[in-house]
Amino acid sequence: MSLFQLFLVFVYVGMFTIGGGLVAITLMQQELVGRGLITAERFYNMVAISESTPGPIGINMATYIGYEMYGIPGGIIATIGTVLPSLVVIIVIARYFGKFQEKPLVKAAFFGLRAGTTGMIAVAAFQVILVAVLSLDSFSRTGRWQDIADWRAFAFFCIIFVLQVKIDWHPVFFIILGAVFGIVFL
């Protein structure tokens, strides 16, 4: 696969990723693991690293795969490829959105849309909470109620929740606090 073909693969991934990073992972898997360009094991190792480092996971994966195949130019080209379709689409939407948004019908649609999207964001937030404080697999293994949550994580969750309501720190400070707590206690 040439550098240009690699670029096209990531343009394709960027174009058909509708609804978030996990869709991008699936498409990359189909295109790269499916075609035998990367082994499945290598791919999951990359997913693990992309999940463990800052930044959107889809972008991390694109950079990683590109770098692995073509060094630094590959990393940059794959990332540009992933971002390009959305950059074009969003610029076009943003260009007309302002005027468009004044129309009564669009206003009405966005009234519903904002509410629906807030519900959607709430589901995703709920899932993050479940993963962070519950340990459902250890509960289903042992069947003991005391195993349903990771209690240290749960206690920390309650403390941070109260703290962030009381103290107006920037989220970054809480994130650093979380990393330190994780290393020491979890």
């Binding site: 959107p56 692995e68 509410a115 629906g116 959607m120 709430a122 962070a132 309501v165 606090l177």
Partner: protein, 183 residues
């Protein structure tokens, strides 16, 4: 000169967001809300939700879409490119450095522990951010109903996000049409 400062500010704002958030679009929400809505006032909470809705139903990664949108509104096409570059830049650097020097990064036990701690914090921060958004977008009963319906459709019935986007837009239109007829 002012232009250069604004480009710099755009790049730096999104660079920071890309550098401190783990996971993806939603994990970025508390920082987006704090930095862009509350501190810089580059967009309103309603706009942030609009961008998420548009990001949900257009190609690309939602966090990147938000960057492109805000960048374009501030400074046209160059602004969009600068903001988008800013948000992906930390990924580029960090991933390449790790790939070159520290292959086993994800297997380091401390890294996994730190991430678990970070996830707990993000969960707590998200509750506050979502409640903050909800106060604006679900303020009236008709909106609250749609928000709750959307929550149930996705959480219980696993309906795809795009379908909920379409449905809630139609709901908004239907609501207006009905009110129009009564008046």
């Amino acid at each position: 000169m002012n232009d250069i400062r604004l480009y710099g500010e755009l790049f730096w704002a999104f660079f920071k967001i890309g550098a401190v958030t783990f996971g993806g679009g939603l994990a970025m929400l508390p920082v987006l809300d704090r930095d862009l809505v509350q501190a810089k006032k580059w967009l309103t909470a309603e706009q942030l939700v609009d961008y998420f809705a548009i990001g949900q139903s257009t190609p690309g990664i939602i966090a990147v879409n938000v960057a492109t949108f805000v960048g374009y509104n501030k400074k046209g096409v160059p602004g969009a490119v600068v903001a988008t570059t800013g948000i992906v830049f930390p990924s580029l650097v960090i991933i390449m450095v790790l790939a070159a020097f520290l292959e086993g990064f994800a297997d380091i036990p401390q890294v996994q522990s730190a991430l678990r701690g970070i996830n707990v914090v993000v969960a707590a921060l998200l509750i506050k951010a979502v409640i903050g958004l909800g106060k604006k977008t679900l303020a009236v009963p008709a909106a609250f109903f749609m928000g709750a319906a959307s929550f149930i459709l996705i959480a219980v019935f696993n309906v795809p996000g795009v379908a909920v986007v379409v449905l809630s837009a139609l709901y908004g239109i239907a609501l207006k049409y009905r009110r129009g007829n009564e008046a």
